[in-house]
């Protein structure tokens, strides 16, 4: 039935179904997509990312994973990370960042830093309420604000955190095994050295005598 | 007495129209003057109908209605001519349209 006005009429029927459906029919009521933001918080999927944060195990000061190798500072496309290495009292460089600033007004959340960090120390957070009134100071997050515990990391990205811990565990085991192997090798080498030394002593007393 | 007051008012209105037609150099102002004069005419018709001996004949009103209809048609044609004049002479100054030669 396509009399001249039928197309418009069909269109009107569709918008009427949506209109009255939103009140009476459950399927259409689900179509109302507006979330009442302050009251209803959006449920983000697990992998969602916004800005990076630094992970620490146990104590923020000593347990920080970052060793201030500055790879992420170099790799970051918009160059928004600033790192200064820590120095102990007599000026020797320590493997710890004294200053670690991320300017989140420049950062675009591309997580290239997460990929390029060999020490699994920087990860992506999913906070989205970071707006502030003044444009400069409060948008540059200092180290203190960036440091978050490993437990927090487990809470926001469980699978990814588990993989990271597994990788760290495997790396540590490998290091220990390597250390043990090295220790054994050294012990073996020392034992061999003593044995040789002992052998020489036993052979030297005959020659001296 | 009241009839004369109304006629005086329509006379003044007519003279305003006449003034516009005579003094203004813009063709549209001339048309506006004509409209005023026609309006004055209508006012007279209605006044005479109002004070006539047997108003049920409605002659005054009939005249007024037909004159309004004609005035509208006249205005339409007049303005069309003005637009054509403007297109030819690039201006609507009445003094410029002097080329009505043979």
């Amino acid at each position: 039935m396509n009399f001249p006005g039928s197309g418009i009429f069909k269109g009107m029927v569709v918008s009427a179904i949506n209109l009255f459906g939103s009140y009476f029919d459950r399927a259409h009521a689900k179509r109302l997509i507006t979330e009442q933001y302050p009251e209803e918080r959006p449920t983000l999927p697990e992998a969602s990312r916004s800005f990076p944060f630094l992970v620490f195990d146990g104590d923020p000061e000593k347990g920080i994973r970052c060793v201030a190798c500055k790879i992420c500072e170099k790799e970051c496309p918009p160059q928004c990370i600033l790192i200064e290495q820590d120095r102990d009292e007599n000026g020797k460089l320590l493997r710890r960042p004294k200053v670690f600033n991320i300017d989140i007004s420049v950062c675009m959340g591309c997580q290239i830093c997460v990929e390029s960090c060999p020490f699994e120390s920087i990860r992506m957070d999913n906070i989205y309420e970071v707006s502030s009134y003044d444009r400069f100071d409060s948008l540059v997050l200092p180290k203190e604000k960036l440091l978050k515990s490993n437990e927090y990391y487990h809470s926001i990205h469980p699978t990814e955190a588990a993989e990271t811990d597994a990788r760290i565990e495997a790396a540590r085991l490998k290091k220990e095994a390597a250390a043990k192997a090295a220790a054994q090798k050294m012990a073996a080498a020392k034992a061999a050295a003593e044995a040789k030394a002992a052998a020489e002593q036993s052979s030297q007393p005959e020659s001296q005598a | 007495m009241m009839l004369q007051v109304i006629l005086a008012i329509s006379a003044v209105l007519f003279c305003f129209g006449l003034l516009a037609t005579l003094t203004r150099s813009n063709a549209i102002m001339v048309l506006i003057g004509i409209e005023l004069m026609l309006g004055a005419g209508n006012l007279n018709f209605i006044a005479f109908w109002k004070f006539s001996t047997h108003p049920e004949l409605l002659t005054g009103i009939m005249f007024a209605i037909f004159s309004i209809a004609l005035a509208a048609a006249e205005a339409a044609v007049g303005l069309a001519i003005v637009i054509q004049v403007h297109r030819r002479l690039r201006s609507v100054n009445v003094n410029r349209a002097t080329q009505l030669k043979g």
Binding site: N2, G5, M12, S15, A16, N18, L19 | -
Partner: protein, 416 residues
């Protein structure tokens, strides 16, 4: 006559809702006489007529402004629900105080007048737009015996005063001295003039059939019920239905709404003739548009939907003035429904639609109304008038539309 028995009369009035407004007016007049006696002077009759007029004016203005306020929030809510979202629900319960918020915003916003605008004309335009819109509701019959001025030439009065809004739009467009507003004003006036003809024609048809130009006469002509339950409103006759649709679309065009909102075609001309208006003047234009829309829809209800007649005989316990506003509310809803669905016409298509489709259809409706009337308004009259209207509709629909554009004569090839 003291204050107490005045108060006692109020519950009695409420018992008979049908005549509530009329009784209420009498009560107010008695109250004024009582006030006069309190001060010790006999209130002369002209004061009472003055108060009577004032009460009617205040009632009409109050009703239309409340409807304007509610309509501005209902429109956004209905539009939202048609678009799968909620609409304003922050200010007050279900967003009912939104018009208050909008009003405050409109009043406090700075009223910018462009530097080289024509100040005087720029200031007058909204007033010239609002005055006719506020005068129009005077002639609508809201209930039995409830019409502000019972003019015998009501319909003619409507079109005479309605013609003022075109001048206002020209003033607005011309005085803002900017390209967009001149284009917008040109479009608006071309649209309103070309749609005034079908509007007047369909109203004339109803006047011819009802035999009178006065709105109350037309509403009375639509009284009574066919076969006991079917109201013989004009909209249920073939010619009446066509004339009603024509009037409805012309009303949309007159108030620059939905498919015909070319003057403020946002996508092309920013805000048309309203580009240079802000603050309170814009609010005046906004109010004039809405009150004008209600007035012209009120006239549609009077002409075609049987003004204050109840749709079914046993429903007359609901007072007559409620029916008028129920029908008006339904029409307002349909306006928003159309606005949520239909894209906008292009300027030449709109003019073509007016002159090549609407006008011939209104002539066809005229002939079919005549056939209906002279064939004795019975079944035979129905048949003839239906045929007289259907043939031009399909012929015009085909020749001036589907011949050029139709979705199904397009082939799409597919390649592997």
């Amino acid at each position: 006559m003291n204050f107490i028995d005045l108060l006692k009369r109020i519950p009695e009035i409420c018992k008979t809702p049908e005549t509530l407004p009329l009784e209420g007016k009498k009560l107010i007049l008695d109250f004024v006489t009582w006030l006069g006696s309190l001060v010790g002077i006999a209130v002369p009759p002209w004061v009472l007529t003055l108060v009577n007029i004032l009460v009617v004016i205040v009632a009409i203005i109050a009703v239309f402004l409340i409807m304007f306020a509610l309509m501005s929030v209902w429109e956004r809510k209905i539009l939202a629900r048609a678009q799968n979202r909620y609409g304003p629900n922050r200010v007050g319960p279900w967003g009912l105080f939104q018009p208050v918020a909008d009003g405050i915003k409109m009043l406090t916003k700075e009223d910018i007048v462009p530097r080289n605008a024509d100040k005087v004309v720029h200031f007058i335009a909204p007033i010239v737009m609002l005055v006719p819109a506020l005068i129009l509701p005077v002639l609508l019959p809201y209930g039995r015996g409830m019409v502000a001025i019972d003019l015998s030439v009501g319909i003619l009065f409507f079109f005479a005063v309605g013609a003022g809004s075109e001048v206002a739009i020209f003033l607005a467009g011309w005085s803002s001295r900017n390209k967009y507003s001149i284009l917008g004003a040109m479009r608006a006036i071309a649209q309103m003039i070309s749609y005034e003809l079908p509007l007047v024609m369909s109203a004339v048809i109803v006047a011819l059939v009802a035999g009178t130009l006065s709105p109350t006469g037309i509403v009375e002509a639509q009284g009574g019920y066919q076969f006991g339950f079917f109201p013989n409103w004009f909209v249920f006759t073939p010619w009446g239905f066509v004339a009603c649709v024509l009037f409805y679309f012309s009303a949309l065009a007159e108030s620059n709404r939905s498919p015909f909102d070319l003057p403020e075609g946002e996508s092309e001309l920013v805000a048309g003739h309203l580009t240079e208006y802000s603050g309170f003047k814009y609010a005046l234009f906004f109010m004039a548009e809405y009150v004008g829309m209600f007035a012209i829809n009120g006239l549609l209800v009077t002409l075609f939907l049987g003004g204050y007649q109840a749709p079914l005989p046993f429903l007359t316990f609901i007072p007559s003035w409620c029916w008028f506003f129920i029908k008006l509310a339904f029409l307002a809803f349909s306006l928003v429904w159309v606005r949520a669905t239909m894209p906008r016409f292009r300027i030449d298509q709109m003019m073509q639609f007016a002159w090549k489709f609407m006008l011939p259809m209104s002539f066809a409706a005229l002939f079919s109304a005549a056939a209906w009337h002279y064939a004795g308004r019975g079944l035979l009259g129905w048949g003839i008038s239906a045929v007289l209207v259907a043939i031009p509709y399909f012929a015009l629909g085909y020749f001036c539309f589907t011949r050029h554009h139709s979705a199904d004569n397009r082939r799409y090839l597919f390649s592997e």
